[in-house]
């Protein structure tokens, strides 16, 4: 029994790490008012950048840096489209996912079929993700910048009235989200399965989007959510003889639907940022 709990916890932490990292980034973007459905694409590009840089330089840490940088960069065109040009955030996000998956698949061809020479340990990422969750929670809850970021997602007019540029805040949050998705990708190609393959993300980016909602856009709750999703994923193989794996794999999404339905039933604020998904137009009344 103890052995069961221990192995499940270890696997939950490992599988939960990429979705936690990317989910934290998505929470920041969404708290600033921007839904970015491009997580899967940004993660894929990050994974490739990490692998390519680590393999050619021999240093996995350079790979880490490359993933963060490239993740942030690929989020930029999305930010321009959805924030400055006020394109539909959902459509622009889907486009980013397709762009990221396609681009990484194409550029990644020469790196396929070879293992990474110097991989990183999974545990390092696990600890980093947990520490980041706490730091990001503290920053969001207890600093002025965090307050501004949250306000940009709740009531951007107020932020504007304070003389702070709403666009700049949202750009920052979206680009940070991209960097975090890139980091999640680096975990996949440097530690989790130290090699590159087209489609390495296999839907983890979508679980990260679901995680942001499930965690009610709260960085600390995201840790619990990531652990829960990770444990369910692991158990879908442990319990395969007893429970249908399809059912267990669908659980994260079922949970999201359940939580959304329950919070809709509850009176008062749903937990979602008020201005989520709404492009900000200066001087226009909502």
């Amino acid at each position: 029994m103890e052995d069961w709990i221990w192995t499940t916890l270890v696997r939950a932490l490992a599988f939960g790490t990429p979705i936690l990292l990317a989910g934290l980034g998505e929470i920041y973007a969404e708290r600033s008012g921007v839904v970015n459905l491009g997580v899967e694409g940004m993660m894929a590009v990050g994974a490739l950048a990490a692998f390519a840089a680590a393999q050619s330089s021999g240093s996995p840490y350079l790979g880490l840096a490359a993933a963060v940088l490239v993740g942030a960069l690929i989020a930029l065109p999305f930010a321009v489209a959805s924030i400055t040009l006020r394109a539909n955030q959902y459509v622009a996000g889907l486009a980013l996912t397709m762009l990221g998956l396609g681009l990484s698949g194409l550029l990644g061809k020469p790196y396929e079929g070879a293992p990474l020479a110097h991989p990183l340990p999974e545990s390092g990422f696990v600890v980093a993700a947990l520490v980041l969750a706490v730091v990001l929670w503290f920053f969001l809850r207890h600093t002025f910048t965090g307050l501004v970021l949250r306000s940009a997602g709740e009531n951007p007019e107020t932020v504007d009235a304070m003389g702070i540029n709403v666009y700049a805040v949202r750009y920052g949050a979206v680009v940070f989200g991209g960097a975090m998705a890139g980091l999640a990708g680096a975990f996949l190609s440097l530690a989790y399965r130290p090699s590159w393959a087209d489609g390495i993300t296999s839907g983890l980016g979508w679980i990260a989007v679901a995680l942001a909602i499930f965690a009610a856009w709260h960085p600390l709750k995201a840790v619990g959510a990531a652990l829960l999703f990770g444990a369910l994923y692991h158990l879908s193989y442990r319990l395969q003889a007893v429970v249908s794996p399809e059912f267990l794999k669908a659980m994260p999404y079922l949970f999201v639907v359940l939580v959304l339905s329950l919070s809709a039933l509850r009176r008062g604020p749903s937990g979602a940022p008020e201005a989520l998904g709404t492009p900000y137009v200066r001087g226009e009344r909502r």
Binding site: F15, A197, Y237, E246
Partner: protein
């Protein structure tokens, strides 16, 4: 003026087509990305080798084609001038037959399927012999008596391979179990990884798999556990842990089939009974985790040290047994076969009577599980 332009264009295109009339255009549809380093990668290697070997051959491919959308992709390939289309996944079967009725002039060949038509042939380079040989080695190497197996889907092809593997394991180690986990996807590195981790947690210490990535090998190697490569030469992913595996040479089938199409032996009217079922004797498959190396030399010592009392060969080491069986199974007459009766299934029901072997049809539609297989087994006959 405008009309003149179009007429010129059509004439030019026609002339171009005529000039290339000697070429045969063959196209491939892959279920996964070419870079998966598994199933689709192996087919693409076969395509490249065929193109190199046959100067009159022109090829094209589409990758990652969802099984439900195969027909639309086939329509597009036909429009692009493909004369021979290879569909390389079991799930394409009904789409291929529908497309074949729609395009009676095009020649189709469907890998792993069992439905044919005048213009649809089927082909398969099957591994069940190799899985048995891998099983012998796995049975010798397991210390916990638990061998892990990660499978993509519970379809007859995998059930046949897992059962052949389990028969091999039990030949050497009569009490060993083969723990099976399904990931319900051909290509999903995260799923393969977590399935392997789950098997490790259950105590498995030797691994084999049928899915399209080297993930199982990488995960097992991290714990220092031996594994068997699948489809492509995956030894490079863990040179110290990959014992052996299954390698395919699809080009043997592709070159034979295309040469016969080119020579007019195969046409769009006479493929009803054309069914390639190529094994070791035809060179379509090879034992090993790297080309030209049936067993990783690092494991030769351990396999030579493990002795057993074999009903046919008497006292023999596992290494010698593997080599003997390999030679017999490579014989054109198939002097030995993994499914040589008497064989009971895991529920104790006699499946292969003494002195008999399974027919090709029985192999292709196999749903029962060999003794020692542990895990969910959808459609298991009672």
């Amino acid at each position: 003026m405008r009309k003149g332009f179009w007429v010129t264009l059509v004439v030019l295109l026609g002339a171009l087509g005529f000039a290339q009339g000697d070429k045969l255009k063959a196209c491939w549809i892959y279920v996964g990305p070419v870079g998966d380093y598994g199933w689709s990668h192996a087919h693409d290697q076969g395509r490249i080798a065929a193109e190199k070997a046959l100067p009159w051959l022109e090829t094209q491919y589409v990758e990652s084609v969802p099984e439900a959308q195969a027909e639309a992709y086939i329509d597009r390939l036909v429009k692009q001038g493909c004369e021979v289309i290879f569909a390389t996944s079991f799930g394409y079967m009904d789409s291929v037959l529908a497309a074949a009725r729609k395009h009676p002039d095009v020649i189709f060949a469907h890998a792993t399927g069992f439905k044919r038509a005048p213009n649809v042939a089927t082909y398969m380079a099957d591994f069940y012999q190799l899985y048995y040989l891998n099983g012998l080695m796995a049975g010798a190497l397991t210390k916990t008596g638990k061998v892990g197996y990660v499978g993509a889907f519970p379809i007859p092809e995998l059930k046949r391979h897992i059962s052949a593997f389990a028969l091999g394991v039990r030949t050497v180690n009569p009490d060993a179990e083969v723990l099976v986990r399904w990931i319900y996807e051909w290509y999903n590195p995260a799923a393969a990884k977590e399935a392997t981790e789950a098997l490790i947690a259950e105590g498995a210490d030797v691994f084999a798999f049928t899915e399209d990535t080297p993930t199982v090998i990488q995960v097992a190697a991290k714990k220092g556990l031996p594994s068997f490569s699948h489809y492509s030469p995956m030894k490079r992913f863990a040179p110290d842990q990959v014992v052996s595996g299954q390698l395919v040479h699809w080009e043997k089938i592709y070159i034979d089939f295309l040469a016969k199409v080119y020579a007019g032996v195969y046409t769009n009217k006479n493929l009803q009974d054309v069914d390639y079922w190529w094994l070791l004797p035809q060179g379509a498959v090879e034992l090993g985790g790297a080309y030209g190396e049936p067993v990783n030399p690092k494991f030769a010592g351990a396999l030579k040290a493990k002795k057993l009392n074999h009903p046919v060969f008497g006292e023999i080491s596992v290494y010698d047994l593997v080599m003997k069986e390999l030679a017999l199974m490579s014989d054109v007459e198939l002097a030995a076969d993994p499914f040589q009766g008497p064989i009971k299934d895991r529920q104790g029901k006699l499946r292969v009577p003494a002195g008999l072997r399974l027919t090709k049809h029985e192999l292709e539609t196999m749903e029962w599980a060999a003794p020692g297989v542990k895990g969910p087994w959808p459609n298991e006959p009672k």
